[in-house]
């Protein structure tokens, strides 16, 4: 009796979850289906599977018709995203460690200042930042993305790391000190291995955000040879002329692959990281 009751409720909850998951994932599935549809079918119908499949969108979209193909854009994106993510991890860890474990003059003021920059809407600083990078001669390069990452200019991640370090027991540091470790060794050998999950959260978030960033690359990158995927995808989308949506859909499918693969590869740590940074010991 009890057993069958359990399995019935389990079946119901599975059905509910499957339906919900289908609804949530539908746009993604539709995108894959749309890469095999003609323009008319994309806008004229709602179905998932193409009625009269059109092949070749992947090939045509990959080569492109302009001067540069999609492989260039993909390569450019990695060139921009990988250093940005790497330096964000390093700088966020150092800044987080500093704020969590050391006492220094004006610590509170500096911490509040850092948090304040997190609250500042990005649109407000677009033009001043643009002019700043222009004076440095960094326009049309990836430096406006990479250098701020080196200098810990992503307060969200700094804050996340601070919170994480605060959650680690001080006894760990003390045991290190007793054994004669300096503060850097404590970080490197004792704390970092415990931070793995938080670091993976930083990696995944920063990767996806930089990967999908449109406004900043639009403004800082002007030569087509340096366009990342976000700009490359929109290159042929005009308001007055017709273009093949299926190629754009096909390239969108390709462009979401790296973040998706990264997510699944890091999933175990990532989910743990999100869960633990929110908890208090």
């Amino acid at each position: 009796m009890i057993k069958s009751k359990k399995s019935v409720s389990r079946i119901i909850s599975y059905i509910f979850l499957i339906v919900l998951a289908y609804v949530m994932v539908y746009p993604l599935l539709w995108m894959v289906g749309a890469s095999f549809k003609s323009n008319q079918e994309i806008f004229g119908t709602l179905g998932l599977l193409p009625k009269s499949p059109v092949f070749g969108a992947f090939g045509a979209g990959w080569t492109g018709t302009g001067q540069y193909g999609f492989s260039t854009f993909l390569y450019n994106t990695f060139l921009m995203v990988i250093p940005t993510v790497l330096f964000t991890v390093i700088s966020a860890t150092l800044v987080g460690y500093g704020f969590a474990r050391f006492d220094f003059p004006l610590k509170k003021v500096l911490f509040v200042t850092m948090l304040a920059t997190m609250m500042l809407p990005a649109t407000v600083i677009i033009i001043p930042r643009y002019i700043f990078f222009k004076r440095l001669g960094w326009l049309d390069t990836y430096l406006p993305f990479i250098v701020p990452a080196m200098l810990g200019c992503f307060p969200f991640f700094n804050f996340m790391m601070v919170q994480f370090f605060r959650g680690l027991p001080l006894e760990i540091d003390e045991s290190g000190k007793l054994d004669g470790c300096n503060s850097f060794v404590i970080l490197k050998d004792l704390l970092l291995p415990l931070c793995k999950s938080a670091i993976f959260s930083v990696i995944v978030f920063q990767f996806v955000w930089t990967w999908n960033d449109f406004m900043n690359v639009l403004i800082y990158i002007s030569s087509v040879a340096k366009y990342p995927v976000a700009l490359g995808l929109r290159m042929t989308m005009d308001i007055s002329t017709e273009f093949d949506w299926n190629q754009i859909m096909a390239m969108s499918v390709i462009s979401i692959l790296p973040p998706v693969i990264l997510f699944f590869a890091a999933q175990k740590y990532f989910v743990e990281g999100i869960a633990t940074t929110g908890m208090k010991n």
Binding site: G66, I127, E242
Partner: protein
């Protein structure tokens, strides 16, 4: 609000960069020159433009041309930021309404005169009305773009309407309602809320001359506004146009409405430049717009497809103007460019393309009929993006049935006066 802020910043910075750039310009270069061109478009525009640029560099080896191109999304923001930062390209493609908006904030674009480009190739009124700001010619029109009324002959016939009807405001209703009477899911017009705004502007232009005149004043009376809204209320009540609840999803992209694609809507207002995209796989032809007896102005719009301007902060203004001259008047360039920017606005451009047989008869007919019917140009105030937004908001409320014609008219005039006072 955001836009005003951005424009304000440009004003400040443009002034700063003008002074800063002054000293640099003295150093004239005879050596290799690199010029940047920026434009938006699709592949059908990118490829021919790049080819024409290559041809120019081949003929002028000392000039290197670099293209900065992309889609429409974000182009305006990018241009505005670049102008503010003093890094805009030497030659820039802009949309017509931006000319006045940007030029009013400072010395942004270089002045062009007859000694640089043979201006007799262009229609003088066209240059005066659309490319001139404060008496100075600041850009050149790439093509002529006019409003056109596209109709699906077959669909009209199948609902018992003569496709060759000469449309009037009355027979749009008396004939047009036959469609919705027979098929509840089909409509005479595919107008989305933004297209309804264009229809409203046409109707007001015919009644009163304009929505906002050159003196920054609302040009129609409350009674005329009520009359126009009363007329368009009949469009909704008698099933001429689909309700906004159905079309507002397709704001600025009525052609993506499945009902339109699947042939459930028979006609639309559109621009000749985007006509092919709007028609898609359907078969349609073009007609002229209804004009009421004693109309002050037909309200049919004619404007440059885009405008090419030279950045006034460019270090090589003279060379940039030469490139512009090549793109607009050289037969080789015109052949390479083809219809990348619509039917050319120059005499030589049109004759070159006609000789090549590149202009489709449909586009030619639509353009000629549109030019013949074209009304007075809209004032820069009526084309201002904030004024357009005010009109759109009232039309949205009216279309969703929140305002009666009289209320809509009163509200529109009140809101227009408020926004015009700030411009």
């Amino acid at each position: 609000m955001k836009k005003t802020l951005v424009l304000l910043l440009i004003a400040l910075l443009a002034m700063g960069t003008v002074f800063a750039a002054g000293s640099k310009e003295a150093a004239k270069q005879d050596g290799p020159v690199t010029l940047r061109l920026s434009w938006w478009g699709g592949d059908s525009r990118h490829t021919p433009t790049l080819k024409a640029m290559e041809a120019y560099s081949a003929a002028n080896p000392n000039v290197k041309l670099e293209g900065e191109y992309g889609g429409w999304d974000g182009y305006y923001q990018k241009i505005v930021t670049q102008i503010a930062g003093g890094t805009a390209a030497d030659i820039i493609q802009i949309d017509q309404p931006w000319l006045a908006e940007l030029a009013s904030k400072g010395d942004v674009f270089a002045v062009i005169d007859n000694s640089m480009v043979d201006l007799s190739q262009f229609d003088a009124d066209f240059l005066k009305n659309y490319c001139t700001y404060d008496g100075k010619l600041l850009g050149l029109p790439t093509g002529t773009n006019v409003n056109t009324f596209i109709v699906d002959d077959q669909m009209l016939t199948s609902f018992g309407i003569d496709p060759n009807t000469k449309w009037t405001w009355d027979n749009i209703i008396t004939e047009g309602k036959k469609i919705n009477q027979k098929d509840k899911s089909a409509y005479f017009s595919g107008a989305s809320p933004d297209i309804m705004r264009y229809w409203f502007e046409i109707y007001i232009a015919q009644l009163a001359g304009a929505v906002v005149d050159n003196n920054k004043k609302v040009a129609f009376t409350e009674a005329q506004g009520t009359e126009a809204f009363t007329y368009f209320k009949r469009w909704f009540d008698e099933g001429i146009v689909a309700p906004f609840s159905q079309t507002s999803l397709f704001y600025q992209k009525f052609q993506e409405n499945p009902s339109w694609i699947n042939g459930k809507m028979a006609t639309s207002w559109t621009w000749v430049s985007s006509m092919d995209k709007d028609i898609g796989a359907r078969k349609m032809s073009t007609r002229q717009f209804p004009v009421m007896a004693g109309a002050k102005n037909t309200g049919v719009l004619m404007r440059p497809s885009q405008i090419m301007v030279v950045n006034s902060n460019s270090k090589n203004k003279a060379e940039a103007v030469k490139v512009l001259n090549y793109l607009f008047t050289d037969p080789q360039a015109l052949e390479l460019l083809g219809l990348a920017r619509g039917i050319p606005a120059t005499v030589i451009g049109r004759s070159t393309l006609a000789a090549m047989g590149a202009i489709s008869t449909m586009a030619e007919k639509a353009t000629n009929e549109g030019i013949a019917q074209a009304g007075l140009p809209q004032s820069t105030y009526q084309m201002n993006s904030e004024v357009i937004q005010v009109m759109q908001d009232v039309i949205d409320e009216f279309g969703f049935g929140k305002l009666t014609p009289a209320e809509a008219s009163a509200k529109l005039i009140k809101n227009l006066n408020a926004i015009l006072a700030t411009l």
